[in-house]
């Protein structure tokens, strides 16, 4: 290759490299701008509608000023708690089993199932619970909502648990076995404590996502104008309230939808940030 040719290819390589780099920077900037504008409008509009009443009062009929979304906040927390009560035992046990058993037909099948479940749109879980639980109980309920959210969480919790349990070094298991521990004690006293942060990170991510889901709740938990005092009754939730208020024709309800959105985003942010902090700490230790 002549010197001139070498210079030219070098120059063109430099040019294409800087083009790609510029493109990447541009796309990154776009993402940041998009995210920022969403946050900005939620905070901007939400803060305007937000007040102590929004946080503490029940909804009023449209046109009557001064209502709030307190029942939806409580409802969302309740639904998430219910979903955890169902999804955590299932997801943790499944994840531990997948990680410790490693091979076998059933294990491969379960792993494929978990992956497939993760890919199912959440609205489908809503229809499923509607068809099974709601149809059987003959009405919407907090239980059904919790079950639908649990289904969206199980794949995430399962896979996060599997990954975290697998990441526990084999030599710690061997150390425990050589001390005369049974398999169960090795898992309970050595593996799970070592994997706890990783599992917690996965659980918090799943919880954050579930808290923001409207689709699976629309035909399971439905909505309510009151606090939920019976799990067999429907309950309000922030995502569904945002949905119904936004499609309503009233301005004050629109304002409340924004306020509810701000509350929801803050809630989800708390989960996400906690998850982040946990996974950071894990990196520091190892």
């Amino acid at each position: 290759m002549s010197d001139a040719a070498r210079v030219r290819t070098l120059a063109s390589r430099r040019a294409s490299e800087s083009f790609v780099r510029g493109l990447a920077a541009g796309v990154t900037a776009l993402t940041v701008v998009g995210l920022a504008s969403v946050l900005f409008s939620v905070v901007g509009y939400g803060a305007r509608g937000l007040s102590m009443t929004t946080l503490t009062a029940l909804p009023r009929p449209a046109g009557v000023p001064g209502g709030g979304v307190a029942n939806a906040i409580v409802g969302t927390l309740l639904l998430v708690a219910l979903a955890c009560a169902i999804a955590l035992p299932v997801g943790l046990l499944a994840g531990i089993h997948l990680a410790e058993a490693r091979t076998g037909k059933l294990v491969r099948l379960a792993r494929t199932a978990a992956d497939a479940l993760a890919a199912v749109p959440s609205v489908v879980f809503g229809i499923f619970v509607f068809g099974v639980l709601v149809a059987w109980m003959k009405h919407f309920s907090a239980l059904a909502g919790g079950a639908a959210l649990a289904l969206t969480m199980i794949p995430t919790v399962t896979r996060a648990t599997e990954v975290a349990v697998r990441a526990v070094p084999e030599r710690l298991r061997e150390a425990a076995l050589a001390l005369g521990a049974t398999r169960h004690r090795v898992i309970a006293q050595v593996v799970l404590p070592s994997a706890a942060r990783g599992i917690a990170t996965g659980v918090l991510l799943a919880v954050g996502r579930a808290a923001g889901e409207a689709a699976p709740l629309l035909f399971t938990a439905w909505e309510s104008r009151f606090f939920c005092d019976d799990l067999r009754e429907p309950t309000a939730s922030l995502p569904v309230s945002i949905f119904t208020y936004t499609i309503s024709p009233y301005d004050d309800l629109h304002a409340q939808a924004w306020a509810a959105a701000l509350v929801l985003v803050s809630l989800v942010l708390v989960f996400q940030v906690t998850a982040r902090l946990l996974s950071k700490r894990r990196d520091d230790v190892s």
Partner: protein, 263 residues
């Protein structure tokens, strides 16, 4: 090649353990064939031989850790106090309590405190000691690290130096009061000073325990062991008193190995 009987009859002794025609396989390789040798009570037995000759596999067969590897199997038998540890009614968990193990790479539980590491063996067996502080002090003292650690009992095990970690693993093993201690190259990741401390420790521990130590260092084997076994290609080539084996080996392969012509 048949198994070579001990050429030098060991001194009057009690056989704590005995391998009988012991074989060990991995799914894709045979690691040990026809090993027959005793392990004498209150003596230090060193296992030497070139890399890959089956030293680790051998001692892992003595506390049934070999079978922990998926697909790994054993044949023949191992006796502890004259009774088979591979009988169908024998629980490997019970065997491992009596026959403790220290690994090549120090493996304390990194996030547990020094104190909890020492107590971990008991806790993993569901035992709550009546006076845990006594157990911790006794085990750390035996492992020659009480003075060094008495003010750092709450430090996480993973934050200690390599030599401290290894002695902590020895303390963890001792807290369970095993009868036999298996050590797989316990000094391989340590500097000469830490190595010397562990060798001293082995010397002291012989009074109360029966020790089997795998080592790559002929000098170490000569220093710490009463009896030495030379393994080659998965077989036991020679076994006998350490000073005899190192000065007047019977088998030419032993001689070649200890004079450094291979391995």
């Amino acid at each position: 090649m048949s198994t070579v009987p001990p050429s030098t009859p060991p001194p009057p002794h009690v056989e704590k353990m005995r391998a009988e025609n012991l074989g060990a396989k991995f799914p894709d390789a045979v690691a040990l064939r026809g090993i027959t040798m005793p392990v004498i009570e209150h003596k230090v037995t060193a296992v030497i031989g070139p890399s890959g000759c089956g030293k680790s596999t051998f001692i892992r067969c003595l506390n049934r850790m070999h079978e922990v590897v998926p697909g790994a199997t054993t044949s023949g038998d191992v006796l502890l106090d004259g009774k088979s540890i591979y009988g169908s009614a024998v629980d490997p968990v019970g065997v491992r309590r009596k026959v403790g193990m220290v690994f090549q790479k120090p493996n304390p539980f990194p996030e547990m405190s020094v104190r909890d590491n020492v107590l971990s063996g008991l806790r993993l067996n569901g035992i709550r000691p009546a006076s845990p502080d006594v157990v911790v002090e006794a085990a750390l003292t035996q492992a020659a690290m009480w003075d060094e650690m008495r003010d750092s009992l709450d430090r996480p095990g993973g934050s200690l130096s390599g030599g401290q970690q290894q002695r902590l693993c020895i303390a963890r093993c001792l807290a369970l009061e095993p009868e036999v201690i298996l050590m797989d190259e316990p000094c391989s990741s340590l500097d000469p000073i830490a190595t010397a401390r562990i060798e001293e420790l082995i010397h002291d521990l012989r009074e109360r325990y029966t020790i089997v130590i795998v080592t790559h260092s002929m000098q170490q084997a000569a220093r710490v062991s009463d009896l030495t076994a030379f393994f080659y290609l998965g077989e036991l080539v020679e076994y006998g008193l350490a000073d005899v084996l190192f000065t007047r080996p019977e088998d030419p392969r032993t001689e070649e190995y200890i004079t450094g012509r291979f391995g």
